[in-house]
Amino acid sequence: MSVVQIANGAVPAVARRAAKRDWVFRIALIVFGVIAVLAAIGPWIAPYDPTELYVGPVNGASSLAHPLGTDDVGRDILSRVLVGAGASVFAPIGVVLLSTLAGVALALAAAWFGGWVSGGIARLIDVIFAIPGIVIAVLAVAVFGKGLLAPVVALSIAYIPVVARLVRTAASRELGKPYTAALRVQGVSSPAICFRHLVPALVPVVAAQTAIGFGYAMLDLSAISYLGLGQQPPAPDWGSMIAAGQAGLLSGAFEQSVYPAILVVVTVLAVGVIGARVTTWAEEKER
């Protein structure tokens, strides 16, 4: 693949054709789209104040007034799911954006300059890679306090190595192709080669990794909230809702845990499908 192909719209055409015959991908796109929209407008369409207690019975079952039931202090679960969607969906997006920006920057620097710069970056990435993301996040919470900011920043750092390694390999491969040498011979400046030709060529790889990273980030952030270290009460998010409702499962009051759990599964699944398809297209284009 080359910049010429991208300029000619080869990638969108491949994507469009693939999307047209792939109903799983289309459903995943629709599902994620709906979830993202609900996350964005959740606070405005929630039927109840998500923090108001006893709007219904304690551990109430689904009803017309409360379609997803009520939780262990009588709060409306639908309202909490809707309002909590913001933190649950957008925080992972923050993680993948930050990690992608930093990872791509490091990868480009390593691929472009090579030598000791590449070696230094590789060692730094090795060090970060050696520590599990969730451990870094929990340490960050211990140092900077509870809430979403510290885990988001910590997970962003933890995810940098995956992005950087992947992109560095792709960037090195791209830089070794004849068209970059041709651009140099033509006297195109280094920044222009980098940002007008190299970076666009890496988009499919980055996009695929971003989608996959979102799923992992969502699961990790849910786990952190489950431990009580993420979003702080009374603000809802899906992970903390799963944790809070766990004790009610045995009593048959499954709504508080299971509905947010299903949403986490469905969201991660949808994003996983999208990521997998983007990866496949990137590979097809490479061929």
Binding site: V24, T51, E52, L53, Y54, P57, V58, N59, G60, A61, D72, V73, G74, L227, G228, Q232, P233, P234, A244, Q246, A247, G248, L249, L250, S251, G252, A253, F254, V258, A261, I262, V265, V266, L269, G272, V273, G275, A276, R277
Partner: protein, 549 residues
């Protein structure tokens, strides 16, 4: 991602819903009628021998079994107390045939002559004196109960005969007799204890007591279980259970499953949240008994809005106690007016005086307008958030904090929740630095022995007079005087009158805002019977009569 992945995800979601839908729904009944609950404090004594019983300890593995250093449900079956606490919280003779004040500052204990330690050696007055002297150490859990004993061990607690021990006091103490019906009166072998030193009660050193079950060397596997065996020579009749094994299960869901499936035979203090499952079709039965346990919150600092009694009263007025009880205790408890629970004095001679004093207290009520007015009057800066500390991972405390937060919001206060890890939460009771930035601490506590002065002494007396949890610096001379007079009273009526006078004052100062009293919940396999099911289990050999039906 393959389509099989989608299928797996869909199946997982469907399975979650299906499995949950099959579970019987529990939950609190908003109109729940607690009067329908029958309270049972002891199950009929067993008649059939049983080889093995596995018992779950929900509080987790203790650090030690030394009665002076640990309050747990294992020690009472190992070490006898001098007096015997009955399931109804009355006190009967035990190893001590009699234990009475012979004058206002002299207490004489007369021992039975047929009691032996597990190794067969007889219990002597020297053993008893040494055991009691352990509580003169400020590190002892029961030091407060021995605070008026002459502090010089050799002069304060003396073996005055082969079967007689005399305790000398610096001032009369109306609470001492009750205290030695608890672990403060636990009897250990002096020679064994001295040889073990600081290791007494640990897995390495073990114990040498007289109780109905024996702890053999190596029977405690740290991180695993504690295996005890029947003391066939027990002075009060050998138990019918040959081997009683304690295992440690803190997670309420795991425990409920293990109990109802018969993998574990019984547990005391099971979670009220699992009520529906435990009352359902399982291997055993849930028994509800009297307790002195209660949920409450109190100030953690002498500064800030939490230390202001008007703010505490305002929060109290904003919390619906009936709703709290149904939500947090699943209806298994009572609305409790003040920190001292009714069961703590039910079996005392002057119970009618205590009861009248309790009945005279105002019922907790919801009055948001009055609460808002109190916040205004308090003069506190309501823009500064208050912080309540609760232990992380405990559903009941998460609910308590959420209810407090909602109540605060209703009256114009901003309350933040600090869910602390267990070690940090435990440390804040003794380390002032851990309480920095915290305005309130929410707790659950219980009284192991009869008596009314335990809580007020800890929370209402000045710190230098025993109020170790009086973090707000509360110092009301009238309350202090009445509480001290109650403790120093030489007759029970005076003690009762003085306590009631103190209670009338301190109840209005909301040093601890009591949210609910809870019942003792015991689950026992239907093949077994004979356990104590009231809070007396913490201070009596509750498994002595355990066995088959």
């Amino acid at each position: 991602m393959k389509r099989t992945g989608i299928a797996v995800g869909a199946v997982a979601c469907a399975t979650m819903l299906a499995l949950c839908g099959c579970t019987p729904r529990g939950g609190a009944d908003p109109d729940g009628d607690t009067a329908e609950i029958t309270l049972v404090d002891v199950l009929p004594a067993a008649t059939q021998p049983v080889d093995d019983v596995t018992w779950a300890i929900v509080e987790g593995e203790p650090a030690t079994l030394n009665p002076a250093a640990s309050a747990n449900l294992i020690v009472p079956n190992l070490c006898d107390n001098l007096l015997s606490l009955q399931p109804d919280f009355s006190i009967a003779p035990g190893i001590a045939e009699s234990a009475e004040f012979v004058d206002p500052v002299t207490f004489v204990i007369t021992l039975r002559d047929d009691v032996a330690f597990w190794d067969g050696s007889p219990v002597t007055a020297e053993d008893v004196a040494w055991s009691l002297q352990q509580n003169l150490n400020p590190a002892s859990q029961w030091f407060g109960a021995f605070a008026l004993v002459v502090p010089d061990a050799a002069a304060g607690i003396v073996a005055t005969g082969p079967n007689e021990v005399t305790v000398h006091f610096v001032a009369p103490d109306s609470t001492f007799r009750d205290a030695i019906a608890g672990q403060g009166g636990a009897v250990m072998q002096k020679a064994f204890g001295e040889a073990a030193g600081q290791a007494l009660g640990t897995p390495e050193a073990g114990l040498m007591c007289t109780g109905p079950y024996e702890l053999a060397p190596g029977a405690w596997t740290p991180g695993g279980d504690i295996v005890t065996t029947a003391n066939e020579q027990y002075w009060n009749g050998a138990p019918l259970v040959k081997t009683l094994t304690y295992t440690f299960v803190s997670d309420s869901s795991t425990l409920a499953t293990a109990l109802t499936q018969g993998e574990i035979d019984g547990a005391i203090n099971v979670s009220p949240g699992a009520r529906a499952v435990l009352e359902g079709d399982g291997a055993g039965t849930l028994t509800v008994g009297h307790s002195t346990a209660s949920y409450s919150f109190g100030p953690a600092s002498a500064t800030g809005a939490g230390a202001n009694p008007k703010i505490r009263e305002a929060l109290s007025l904003a919390i619906d106690r009936d709703q709290y009880l149904e939500t947090v205790a699943n209806g298994l408890g009572t609305v409790q007016k003040t920190i001292v629970p009714e069961f703590s004095f039910q079996a005392m001679t002057e119970a009618p005086i205590y009861q009248a004093g309790y009945d005279a207290l105002a019922e907790p009520k919801v009055d948001l307008d009055a609460a808002k007015a109190l916040v205004e009057e308090s003069g506190e800066d309501t823009s500064v958030p208050l912080v309540v500390a609760v232990p992380a991972g405990a559903k009941e405390f998460a609910q308590t904090a959420t209810i407090m937060q909602s109540a605060a919001k209703q009256i114009g206060l901003d309350l933040e929740i600090d869910e602390m890890q267990a070690a940090d939460f435990g440390a804040l009771f003794y380390d002032p630095t851990k309480r920095e930035g915290i305005d309130f601490v929410a707790t659950q506590g219980y009284l192991e022995t009869p008596g009314v002065l335990g809580y007020p002494s800890l929370f209402m007396l000045p710190a230098d007079q025993g109020g170790v949890f009086n973090w707000s610096g509360y110092d009301n001379p009238e309350v202090t005087q009445h509480l001290q007079a109650a403790r120093n009273a030489v007759d029970e009526k005076t003690a009762a009158d003085e306590f009631v006078a103190a209670q009338e004052i301190f109840a209005q100062d909301y040093l601890q805002v009591t949210l609910a009293g809870t019942y003792q919940l015991t689950y026992l396999n239907d093949d077994l019977t004979g356990v104590t099911t009231s809070v007396a289990a913490y201070s009596s050999p509750w498994a002595l009569h355990l066995g088959g039906e």
